[in-house]
């Protein structure tokens, strides 16, 4: 998708007219060369570990995904039914590119992959996620992670 003309209605209007938060600041954090950075993933796919309750509609929570979670134990509980799931069904990396980060780490292109990754419910108002962001930030600091890749659905 991503080109407006490719999005079926009514999702197109929802996406194009979604209120977007405005920020007064423009933070920009520099870091070491990529080959020295350890990367964590934050995905808005509302992933859950098999057996856990799906995300509630409008939830502002964050859940932690241990990096060693088996692909078969990850389920996608996002509230929206208006995006493709066939890609996810075939390959988790289209949403949660953990194997590709491991590839890049093995090649020495990044410094490493975090032990913990993170997921939120993408349709939730970001204003309701400050506590979740604080939780994520706390864990990132604990693991000495300096860089984050964010993937939407």
């Amino acid at each position: 998708m991503a080109r407006p003309e490719d999005i079926p209605q009514p999702t197109r209007d929802v996406v194009l007219n979604l209120p977007c938060p405005a920020f007064d600041t423009t933070p920009f954090v520099a870091g070491p060369p990529l080959s020295q950075r350890r990367i964590a993933i934050v995905t808005s796919a509302a992933l859950i570990v098999r057996g856990d309750k799906p995300f509630a509609f409008g939830s502002g929570e964050a859940r932690f995904i241990p990096a060693d979670t088996a692909p078969g134990d990850l389920l996608l509980s996002h509230v929206s039914i208006n995006f493709d799931r066939a890609g996810w069904q075939r390959d988790i990396n289209v949403v949660y590119p953990i194997d590709r980060l491991r590839d890049l780490a093995a090649l020495g292109e990044i410094g490493g992959v975090a032990d913990t990754h993170y997921t939120v419910m993408g349709s939730t108002d970001p204003a309701a996620m400050d506590a979740a962001v604080d939780q994520i930030a706390g864990q990132l600091k604990q693991e000495r992670i300096d860089s984050v890749l964010l993937t939407p659905v």
């Binding site: 998708m1 996406v15 977007c20 870091g31 990529l34 799906p54 208006n82 990396n93 890049l104 996620m129």
Partner: protein, 229 residues
């Protein structure tokens, strides 16, 4: 994602967001973002194509080393090949006039093949085994309000049953041969299967229900709007 990117950067982390909707990234102005022409639901673009995925990730992660921010928004240049229908894909043989239980039994071997092929299944949100699905769905169509204990309400129990049915059929459609496009999978499911017809019926039943939660959830979350019959 762009808003979370901003919030994490405020807390001292370098971030790069993949943006599915360029207009949203332009409005939110995250520190660094890569727009990709992937369909919604596939931000890293192409399933089962590590080379394409690595191209996306390399371009995204390279933005972390840029110093000409704040606010860098780049475009990934190429369309993922999976956008296009695959003429070599063959849909499983189904008939929407078949009883759902019989169709499901016939589809199960393909689903098992898909699990072997992909090493996993994305089915599991409903907390019910496929063998329980026909009776649960029949109870809803009969006007009953069964609840799966782990999901608390009938509305959510049916919602995630619908998700699991779509997931099982989506995996079965990809069990053998070349990959279909997302549109091919959707068209087959919604126009040519008893399961698709069942979800349409569940939606209609939900919308006629006096249970407000079921009515609301059924109207919005059982059948994607473009496929409502």
């Amino acid at each position: 994602m762009c808003a979370l990117s901003h919030k994490l950067e405020e807390r001292g982390f370098s971030t790069v967001a993949i943006a599915s909707a360029r207009g949203q990234a332009e409005k939110t102005r995250p520190p660094r973002a890569l727009w990709t022409p992937a369909m919604l639901g596939r931000p890293v673009c192409e399933p089962s194509d590590p080379a394409f995925q690595l191209r996306v990730l390399r371009m995204a992660l390279a933005l972390l080393e840029r110093t000409d921010g704040p606010v860098i928004l780049e475009d990934f240049p190429d369309d993922p090949p999976g956008w296009l229908d695959n003429p070599d894909w063959t849909a499983p043989v189904t008939d929407p006039s078949t009883a759902f239980a019989a169709e499901l039994r016939a589809i199960l071997p393909l689903w098992e093949t898909a699990q072997a092929r992909f090493g996993r299944t994305s089915v599991g949100l409903s907390f019910q085994a496929p063998s329980a699905w026909p009776d649960f769905a029949a109870a809803i169509l009969a006007g009953n309000l069964p609840v799966v204990p782990q999901l608390d309400t009938t509305a959510l129990s049916v919602r995630f049953l619908c998700d699991d049915i779509k997931a099982l059929y989506g995996e079965a459609a990809q069990a053998v041969g070349p990959a279909p496009s997302a549109k091919q999978v959707d068209t087959w499911f919604w126009r040519h299967t008893a399961a698709g017809a069942l979800l349409q019926a569940l939606r209609r039943t939900a919308m006629d229900s006096e249970n407000n939660a079921l009515k609301t959830v059924g109207g919005r979350f059982f059948v994607p709007t473009p496929w409502v019959a």
